[in-house]
């Protein structure tokens, strides 16, 4: 993993966004910053792919957006997790953990 941080693993960006929003509703930049912070700068999210993912998640009914003023009194669209989104997050987390354990087992085998 280089200095600049790497792109998010294919297909996991949605899960990371859901997780971020599960902690606290926030706007696009907030999501991006949170992912970067929480991953300790391993993952960097680009605006283009972030907004594509947000649009997709909205259309899937997993998140909902609403316009609000930020603390710096800018207008920003805040995203909130829906019920469906919560369910999806927990199922995806479970699935992810299962896969990670499995991969770890394979890698640890000697």
């Amino acid at each position: 993993m280089g200095e600049k941080g790497s792109d998010v693993v294919q297909g996991t960006l949605d899960m990371l966004i859901l997780k971020t929003l599960a902690l606290e509703p926030t706007h696009g930049y907030g999501i991006s910053v949170r992912i970067e912070q929480m991953s300790k700068s391993v993952f960097k999210v680009n605006a283009g792919s972030l907004f594509v993912a947000l649009q997709r998640l909205q259309r899937d009914g997993l998140i909902r957006g609403e316009w609000k003023a930020t603390e710096n009194s800018r207008r920003a669209k805040y995203y909130v997790l829906t019920e469906l989104g919560k369910k999806r997050l927990s199922s995806e987390t479970r699935e992810w953990e299962r896969q990670v354990t499995a991969i770890a087992r394979i890698l640890e085998a000697s």
């Binding site: 991006s32 283009g48 907004f51 649009q55 899937d60």
Partner: protein, 888 residues
């Protein structure tokens, strides 16, 4: 749920584009501002912060683009954009658009028109229940069958669920204001139930109604009901007089119902067929047999069963039941027309290919001019696929316009086809634009559009960005590859056109040799009509002969009439009877080998009127009457077959079935061979009996056999215009009796034309297609050569400034064009050699590989191609080297 949300959200993006755009714009901007602010907070100055964010995240537009392109609605949007752009582009070039759309419309419309005919005639199933199970059983596949045979088959066969039979019957409708000769059928009771069609009104025949003595019901066709009863619902139970006998109307068939589907296709009414004493008749063949295969029985089984039955019957009754053929009804109906129709469909398909090629290189020429535009678009980030899509959108749009105009042409074209077509094409009246034609039209349109659009679209990939964006981009000589493709298109156009021209040439040659056929008689200026006496007072045996004689006498005295006579059935136009006979003092022939001849009955004056020369002996005279000894005139073919070594004059023959005491007829003359029912067939043996000696003709034989006739066909030779005599002759007939129906009023010229109607139709259509192909191919080669000359003006300028003379340039250009024409022609000749074999069946008097046609067409096409090259070549010689070079 999710799908619905996707659609709803996509629709919102499409319909409220501004708002959605604005929201996204603000979101992205806020994001980038926040990111910049963060960078500033980390100690960078504003300019550097902006730069870093831009590097990391990309500009606001690129992010928006990425989001915008992710949803399905963006696809719709691009199509819409492409479409609007295509419309703008096409509107900017109205000339190009008009020519392309018209060319396409011509190709598509002609294809759809022929396809609608093929669809109605060949593809659509017959309008009966389960028509695939229906078959006909006929002698040699076309000839009628005797009653006794029908009964044997019906009783002995197991393969058929039902077997029914029909007799042709054309009675006189009398007891009404305008008496009429009507075409109808006598059918067995089981026939209509077998077809599975319910009547519109009333009922079908019931069992027992086809027994002798109780056959006095009639079922009407829809048309007859409309025509004669104005569609009156109270028609059931009414009585009509047919040949003077009363028939009760019991039913009316639905509109569009047609039976029989071949042979007596114009039947307007049906009555029960009572066989009476004919059940034992094996000699008189008049029945057409229809049957429905039992479910699960294959045609092959039915055929082998019938073969076994007929082999037994032949043992029992030698000389009968040979060559009985079981044919699927559909095949019987469309069998003959299938080849010409498929040929026409193939020809019109060629026209479509040429159309495609033509439009394709029109588009390619345009694409070459638009190279700079494409290069600009590529430089601004349009991907290859995007450019190809733009091109395809344009061509599909062109195709759709072409298809729409083609649909109009199709409707007009199929109307014209029906109007032009010979009357004997079955089911032509059912031609409509139905779903299948619609699908065909649409599929052809799309295929065509993609076909002609893909080539230039793919070619646009090879655009060289650098070269084309350079100021005043060099329009030097073209790359070999593109030139090669265009040359290939033109050469194939010429090849296809050549094939069509050769096809048309063969048909034209064949048609002219048909025109040169000598019918034996002189059809010019002869009028004919059928006068029926059945059901009138003239039908009385005592009066009939007097009526005929007086009628002929008065017609001859009409002003403008040169000669007049009568016959039972007109050659080429009427029915054809064949009869076996015996020759006096020859050994009894083996069964099945007795001499037979086409059997006609004529009045004195017939040969003179038809100008059918007697080569030997004398004509039938008025003195050859009932009291005089029987006489007969035979044709040359009869002499060749039955009196090859002897003089036939004075020989005696007999048609009597009564072998012990036959009525002998003395041969008094030999007539030249005349065409019988087929224009191209060699006439078989034929005999002409004296009508006024014949008891069947005079109606006093008292027999019930089929040779009974109750009408006379008048033939009248006019001094000038035969059709002009119609009303005079008609009035002469009606002066005797207002109730005598007159039908089938035609001139002999019309009869001859009708006998040639189908070849004329085929020739006409094929010629039209070939002409269209020729024009398109000429336009194609002209277009390509002019284009090539204009693109090469720089090169030509250089050549001329280096000393090339006008003639050299002319030759160079012409040589290039003619090389294309020659290679195309060569391929076309080979294809024509292979394909023309398929039309051998349609040709008369000319071989499918007729060298004259091949050579003639190739030379003619070469000359046209030369002209098409010459004009652009002339233009090339006028290139001014100074201007051409300075222009660069």
């Amino acid at each position: 749920m999710s799908l619905l949300r996707h659609i709803a959200s996509g629709m919102r993006a499409l319909l409220r584009k501004k708002q959605v755009d604005a929201e996204l714009d603000q979101e992205v901007r806020t994001y980038l501002e926040m990111a910049t602010a963060d960078q500033v907070r980390q100690g960078k100055n504003l300019g550097e912060a902006k730069r870093v964010v831009r590097l990391e995240q990309g500009g606001p537009d690129s992010a928006k683009e990425t989001v915008g392109a992710a949803g399905w609605e963006s696809f719709v949007e691009t199509v819409w954009q492409d479409l609007r752009f295509a419309i703008r582009t096409l509107r900017k070039a109205p000339g190009f658009t008009a020519v392309a759309v018209l060319t396409l419309a011509l190709g598509i419309g002609a294809n759809a028109a022929i396809f609608s005919v093929v669809n109605a005639v060949l593809l659509r199933p017959l309008a009966y229940k389960d028509p695939g199970q229906l078959v006909t059983i006929l002698m040699n596949g076309y000839g009628p069958v005797s009653v006794a045979n029908y009964i044997d088959w019906r009783e002995q066969s197991q393969s058929f669920e039902v077997m029914g039979a029909a007799d042709y019957w054309s009675p006189n409708l009398t007891g009404v204001d305008s008496p009429e000769h009507i075409r109808g059928l006598k059918v067995t009771q089981n026939l209509f139930p077998m077809l599975g069609i319910q009547p519109l009104l009333g009922r079908l025949f019931v069992e027992g109604e086809d027994q002798s003595g109780s056959e006095h019901e009639v079922i009407l066709s829809y048309r007859f009901w409309q025509r004669r009863f104005s569609g009156d619902g109270a028609v059931l139970g009414k009585t009509i007089l047919l040949d003077g006998n009363a028939y009760v109307v019991v039913g009316v068939m639905p509109e569009g119902f047609q039976f029989a589907p071949f042979w007596a296709t114009h039947a307007e009414l049906w009555v029960p067929n009572a066989f009476g004493e004919r059940v034992h008749n094996r000699g008189g063949n008049s029945l057409r047999i229809f049957a429905r295969l039992r479910p699960g029985v294959a045609l092959k089984q039915a055929r082998s069963e019938m073969a076994t039955i007929n082999a037994h019957l032949e043992l029992q009754y030698p000389g009968t039941n040979r060559d009985v053929v079981v044919t699927p009804l559909k095949e019987k109906v469309v069998g003959e027309i299938e080849t010409p129709l498929l040929l026409l469909l193939g020809a019109v398909g060629f026209v479509l290919l040429i159309t495609c090629a033509n439009v394709a290189h029109m588009l390619m020429a345009r694409a070459a001019v638009r190279q700079k535009e494409i290069a600009v678009r590529a430089a601004l980030g349009a991907g290859r696929l995007r450019v190809i899509r733009q091109f395809l959108t344009e061509s599909i749009l062109l195709g759709l316009f072409g298809g729409a105009v083609g649909l109009l042409l199709n409707i007009l074209g199929s109307r014209a086809l029906i109007a032009l077509s010979p009357p004997d094409i079955p089911r032509l009246e059912t031609v409509t634009v139905d779903g299948r034609v619609g699908v065909f039209l649409f599929a052809v349109t799309l295929l065509t559009s993609v076909g002609f659009g893909l080539v230039p679209a793919l070619q646009s990939r090879t655009v060289n960005l650098n070269e084309n964006l350079k100021e005043g981009g060099r329009s030097g000589s073209e790359g070999i590859r593109r030139n090669g493709l265009r040359s290939f298109l033109v050469a194939s156009e010429i090849g296809l056109a050549l094939v069509l021209l050769i096809g048309a040439g063969l048909m034209i040659r064949s048609f002219f040799s048909l025109q040169r056929v000598d019918p034996g008689f002189n059809p010019r200026q002869v009028l004919s009509m059928v006068v029926s006496v059945a059901g009138s007072k003239e039908a009385d045996p005592g009066r009939r002969r007097i009526f005929y004689e007086q009628l002929l006498e008065r017609v001859r005295s009409l002003w403008g009439v040169q000669a007049a006579g009568g016959i039972n059935h007109l050659p080429l136009g009427g029915d054809l009877w064949g009869w076996p006979f015996v020759i006096e003092s020859r050994p009894t022939p083996r069964p099945g080998e007795s001499p037979s001849a086409v059997y006609r009955m004529v009045t004195p004056g017939y040969f003179q009127t038809m100008q059918l020369p007697l080569v030997q002996g004398r004509d039938i005279a008025t003195s050859d009457n009932v009291t005089a000894p029987g006489v007969v005139i035979i044709n040359e073919q009869a002499v060749r077959e039955y009196w090859p070594a002897t003089n036939p004059i004075g020989q005696r023959i007999s048609f009597d079935s009564d072998k012990s005491n036959p009525t002998w007829l003395t041969v008094i003359g030999v007539a030249k061979d005349a065409k019988q029912d087929d224009w191209t067939a060699k006439p078989g043996p034929e005999v002409y009996l004296a009508a006024f000696q014949n008891h069947d003709f005079l109606g006093d034989s008292g027999s019930e056999v089929v040779s009974h006739v109750s009408y006379i066909t008048l033939v009248v030779r006019a001094a000038e215009n035969p059709a002009g005599l119609t009303s005079a002759v008609r009035e002469t007939v009606w002066a005797f009796d207002r109730n005598l129906p007159i039908s089938e009023v035609v001139t002999m010229d019309e009869v001859v034309a009708a006998a040639n109607a189908r070849p004329r139709f085929e020739m006409l259509l094929l010629s039209v297609f070939a002409a269209v192909a020729l024009v398109l191919a000429t336009v194609g080669i002209y277009g390509v050569m002019s284009y090539s000359v204009s693109r090469r003006s720089h090169e030509i300028g250089v050549r001329m400034s280096l000393g090339a003379r006008g003639r050299d340039v002319l030759l160079m250009v012409v040589r290039q064009g003619m090389l294309l024409a020659l290679s195309g022609s060569l391929a076309g000749l080979i294809a024509a050699l292979l394909l023309s074999r398929l039309m051998a069946k349609l040709l008369y008097g000319v071989k499918p590989t007729d060298p004259l046609t091949f050579a003639g067409v190739a030379v003619a096409l070469g000359v046209v191609a030369l002209l098409a090259c010459y004009i652009p070549a002339r233009r090339a010689t006028r290139v001014n080297p100074v201007v051409a070079l300075r222009y660069e």
